[in-house]
Each structure stands twice: as structure tokens, then as C-alpha cells.
């Protein structure tokens, strides 16, 4: 098992490297003149040229990538002399439009995204799994049909639509909540909750629809397995049979999906963050596209993709925890 973990982590690092290279090359292939993008309104050809050199854009892509990697490990200094900009390790790049290191920008935005993801994750996982189990146990009856019908609707509605509808009714029409304005939870817990509750619920509904269906089909499958009959033959109460035997056995695909969904959410729920004006990674990415600010885009893309790769690893390790056949192989 120990060897397995080490091997998996090594593979993950390799993947991250490959990924960063791909992202780097892809963005350098964009037709935009990056140096042109880096200087503000008053732009002379001289400043552009100076920026080009400061950014190392005069070098080949491979060299640039190498410098980027060095920056990650050792930090990096843009330009020379008194005007030089220092970006401390780990340096993900520097945004000249915002005059800040990319990493700092991302870290500033991370909490909002993280809280949004966490809250929604807990809600949709618990809600989806519970509804899925309930539906499976009432297979074919009206309760099952109702849940399945609703989940199909939830599944097919676009998030911006639900988002706008709840804003319109809850905030504008009925004025149940103030307009969203994000604060950190330790600054003003009440306002934090008031801001987050709607995006949480909207995300939860969207995702729970999928988890309800997944859990239901998993449960229907495992409930027919022979070992479930054994568990019942022992005289276990049905609740234990379901929780301890059936659900555990059907967990693997749910864990996979949940892991990847969580990682995806960490990359920022772009539409909802924008609708609810949450200062998260999603809205950062949107503004970086609009400005446009390439270093931020590279940074956000890298971070998001890393989340997914890490989530994959965590999911695989969880398999081993869940299924001894994986662990003991």
C-alpha cells in the first residue's frame, strides 16, 4: 500500500509537469501579443519592447517554460535595477495589468470559491445520496417517480436560469435576503451566510439531481446482490442492511463522481460566481479573459487542472480504503 501511494504521487507530479507545459505552450501559441497586453493605456512602442524583454518574451517557448519552472521553485525577478519587480517563490507569474503576482491574486480569491464549493458539496452529496436511497427503496412507486421527475428537471435546467430566477424572487420580489455582498465568515458570519445560502442551494440542487440518479441506480444494483440477501438472512435490520452493506458496496462510483465534481467546483463555478458577484476564481478567470490578462489565465488554468489531478489521486486512494481487493492487490 505504501509503495502504491508513493508511485501514485510520483505519477501525479509527472502529470502536473506535463500539464503545465501543455498549458504554457498553448497560451504562447495564442495570436495575441502578450507584451502589448501588459502595458496599460499610455503605450509607446518602447514600453512594449521593454516589457517584452522584462517578461522574457524574446526567448523561445522552451526557455520561457524553463524560466517559469525556475520561478515556481526559486522565485523570479522581472527586469533589472530599481524598476525590477520581484515575484517570490513559488511564482506563478505576474499580472502587469493588476500589478500583483498571480499567486497572490489567486489566493485572495480562493476562500470564496472554497467556501462555495465546500458548502454546496456537503449539501448535494448528503441530499443526493439520501434521496437516491429513498427513491431506490420505493422503486416504482409514486415517491420514486416524483423524485426521479424532479431530479430530471433539476438535471436539465441551466445554472444561470435557476440562479437568476432565485435572485429575482428571493432577493428582488420577496426581499427575503439582502443583495449578495461577500465578506469573509470571520468578519461577519451572518452576512457571509446570507450571501452564500442561495448559491449553495442552487449548486446543490443542480448537482444533487445527478447524485440522486447515480445513487438510485447503484442501490438498485447492489440491493440485488447475493451478500445483501446474506445480510438480511442474518437478521440485520433493514436500515443496517442499507447503510452498512448496500450503500458501502455501491459507493465507488459515487466517490469518483464526487471527487471530480468537487475539484471542478474548486476551479470556480464561473456562472454562479458572476451572478452572485462572489469574488472567487471563476469571476477572476472571467475578468482575466475580458481584460485580457494572460498570466492570470495561465495561473488559474494551472491551478484548476491541478485540483482535478489531485482529486483523481484522492479518489483512487479512497478506492483502496473502501475496497480491500484494491488495497491488498
Amino acid at each position: 500500500m505504501g509503495g502504491y501511494v508513493v508511485r501514485r504521487v510520483l505519477i501525479m507530479l509527472l502529470l502536473l509537469l506535463l500539464l503545465s507545459f501543455t498549458v504554457f505552450v498553448l497560451f504562447s501559441l495564442l495570436p495575441a501579443d502578450v507584451a502589448r497586453l501588459t502595458c496599460g493605456k499610455i503605450c509607446t512602442p518602447e514600453t512594449i519592447e521593454a516589457n517584452r524583454i522584462r517578461l522574457g518574451l524574446d526567448k523561445s517557448v522552451i526557455e520561457q517554460y524553463w524560466i517559469f519552472l525556475q520561478g515556481l521553485v526559486l522565485g523570479r525577478t522581472y527586469g533589472q535595477g530599481p524598476g525590477a519587480i520581484v515575484c517570490n517563490a513559488p511564482c506563478l507569474g505576474y499580472s502587469f495589468t493588476r500589478q500583483e503576482p498571480v499567486l497572490k491574486l489567486i489566493l485572495d480569491r480562493l476562500p470564496a470559491t472554497l467556501f462555495l464549493a465546500l458548502g454546496a458539496f456537503v449539501l448535494f452529496l448528503i441530499g443526493g445520496v439520501a434521496l437516491g436511497v429513498y427513491s431506490a427503496l420505493r422503486r416504482g412507486r409514486w415517491q420514486d417517480k416524483t423524485v426521479m421527475g424532479i431530479s430530471l428537471i433539476g438535471y436539465s435546467l441551466p445554472s444561470f436560469f435557476i440562479g437568476l430566477v432565485v435572485i429575482y424572487f428571493v432577493i428582488i420580489r420577496w426581499q427575503l435576503l439582502p443583495f449578495p455582498s461577500y465578506v469573509n465568515p470571520w468578519v461577519d458570519p451572518l452576512q457571509f451566510l446570507q450571501t452564500m445560502i442561495l448559491p449553495w442551494l442552487v449548486l446543490a440542487v443542480l448537482y444533487a439531481a445527478f447524485y440522486t440518479r447515480l445513487t438510485r441506480s447503484q442501490m438498485l444494483e447492489t440491493l440485488n446482490d447475493d451478500y445483501i440477501r446474506t445480510a438480511r438472512a442474518k437478521g440485520l435490520p433493514e436500515s443496517v442492511v442499507i447503510r452498512k452493506h448496500a450503500l458501502r458496496a455501491g459507493l465507488t462510483p459515487i466517490v469518483t463522481a464526487a471527487g471530480l465534481d468537487f475539484a471542478g467546483l474548486l476551479g470556480g463555478a464561473i456562472i454562479l460566481e458572476t451572478i452572485f458577484s462572489l469574488p472567487g476564481l471563476g469571476s477572476l478567470a472571467v475578468s482575466a479573459v475580458l481584460s485580457p490578462d494572460l498570466p492570470i489565465l495561465v495561473g488559474v488554468t494551472l491551478i484548476t487542472a491541478s485540483f482535478i489531478i489531485i482529486a483523481n489521486l484522492v479518489v483512487d486512494l479512497l478506492y483502496a480504503v473502501i475496497d480491500p481487493r484494491v488495497r491488498l492487490a
Binding site: 438480511r232 438472512a233 442474518k234 437478521g235 458501502r248 458496496a249 480491500p324 491488498l328
Partner: protein, 336 residues
Amino acid sequence: MSAFLEVKDLHVSFPTGDGVVRAVDGLSFSVEKGKTLAIVGESGSGKSVTAQAVMGLLNRNFADITGQVWLDGQDLLAMSDDQVRELRGESMAMIFQDPMSSLHPFYRIGDQLMEAVRIHHKVSKSEARERAIDALRQVGIPAPERRVDDYPHQLSGGMRQRVMIAMALINSPQLLIADEPTTALDVTVQAQITELMLKLQAETGTTLMIITHDLGVVADMADEVTVMYAGRAVEMGTTDDIYYRPEMPYTLGLLASVPRLDSDLSERLDPIPGNPPSLINLPRGCVFSPRCTFKGEVADNRCATERPELLASTPGHLVRCHLNAAQRQAARESTT
């Protein structure tokens, strides 16, 4: 002696999209304490459904069950689900055909055994573990102190079936139902398991209901035999009645179609023609009549129009057939 398990007029049907499947249709039988009853019959004749109905394992939302199942003086079908659940695993236990899939793949066998103890008895974990180890030792698992921490996939098929038996017997149930306990195993392992079950039964005096289609296993283990066809008993009696004095044409056909190691080498098998009927659309009259080669001997075409009753031919030997004694005698002589 009085019956320990008595099933009276059991009906089980499943409403399905194609129609109602009458899996068990008016089945009655009984077993005395400490004896072994074998239920034989071909695939789909309702053997497993009967066993699951006795154990209360059928989901009543999807199955219509009527009749009575008396276990030690209590009617299980009249009890609440919870009451039956408390008897399950404690007074009556069951082992299944496929030991590969009957244990939960994610839990250690020790934990699965301990769970079976602790659901019915308030004992500490360490005591339950002791009992699990004892149970494994009893069924001949080597080094049970170490094996108890194994996962099912670390055991061979024969070992897993031993674990299943250990799990069924861990609370010393009075009734053990074994649904094809050796079918999925190799012959040499089959022989081990049969021997083990016989030994344990002799030690504990458990009443055994064994379900199988293997007439060899029946000859090895049973005191009484019920032959099922299309959801009903067509012949029942002592093992000797069924093997040496069979009367119902289906039983005759079954015995004549089994290849056996001690038969005359030049003989060809004598199969029953045709296929078993659909349980949704049972033939009128005798359910066996479409395949029966003796139906022509019964006057007035009664086999095709009138359902025969299960009647005693000699005390304790019940037969469901319109043939009279002489015709049955002749039928037996013509097939053996």
C-alpha cells in the same frame, strides 16, 4: 413427533409486466425436529422462492404471499416483519448457492461473523470474536485465529462456503435452510462440504431443509424428499419411497434421466421430452401433462382437464397423479 417446520398451502406469486408468475402454488410440507428434508425439482420450479418465503426474505411489496409457515409453533407469515427478523439468523438460518458472491467483499470475514452474533446477543466485541474463531474452527478452517482477519477474496470457494456455514450456525439455529449449498463447488470440495454438514447436523441436532437439483446429494443427506414441479409438490415421501418406489411420472422421468456412475454402460438415458411450462400460463389439468408419456392411460382425458390432488398412496407417501396403483406400478417398471 410433531413437525418443527410446517408449511401449509403456501402461495407466492409475482406480478410482472408479462403477467402474474405463480412461483409457488399451494405447497404444503413439514419437517420433524432434527430431520433433513430435501426439496428437489428443476430450475424455476419454485424451490428458492419457497426457502425465501420461509425465511421471510421476500419483499412483500413485490410478491403476494399467502398460506402459513409454522416454525416451532409460531406462524411466521402472521408475524410482523420485525418479529420475523429477530428469528432470522437466530432460530433459522440460511446458506446460499454461490459462496463467491454471498459474502460482502468489503468486510473481513471475522467482522461479518461477529455482526451475526452481536445482532442477536449482547456480547462484547472480544467475546464475539472468540465465537467467530470457534465457529471457523468448527467448520474446519485451518488457523482460524489468523483467517478471521481475512477478506473473502483471500479465500477459495470451498473455504468461503465453510465461512457461510459457520455464519449460519454461529447462533446455533434450530432450522438451517441450505439452498444448493454445493452446486457451485467442485466435486471434491462438494464431498468435503456434504460431509461437514452431515457431521455438524449430527453434533447439533439442527433441522435441515436442503434445496437441490442433485439427486446424488439428496441420497447422501435427506430423510424425506419433496419433489416440486411448476410451483407445486408432485410427490413426497421418505428418501426410500422416492428412490425405490417412485410413482409420479415426473419423478420417474427425473430418476431415469440422471446419468449415474453405477448404471449399465450400454444404456441410453431416458429423458423427459419437452420443456417445463411457463409459470404465467400453466397448462390446465395436470401441470406435467404436456410432457407426460403416461397421460394416455388415464380415462376421459382427465390429465388435460382436471388438476390431480396430492393424495397418500401409502402412509407418508403422497403423490399427485391420476394414475391408479396398478398403472403406477406398470409405469415404474417400464422406466427402470
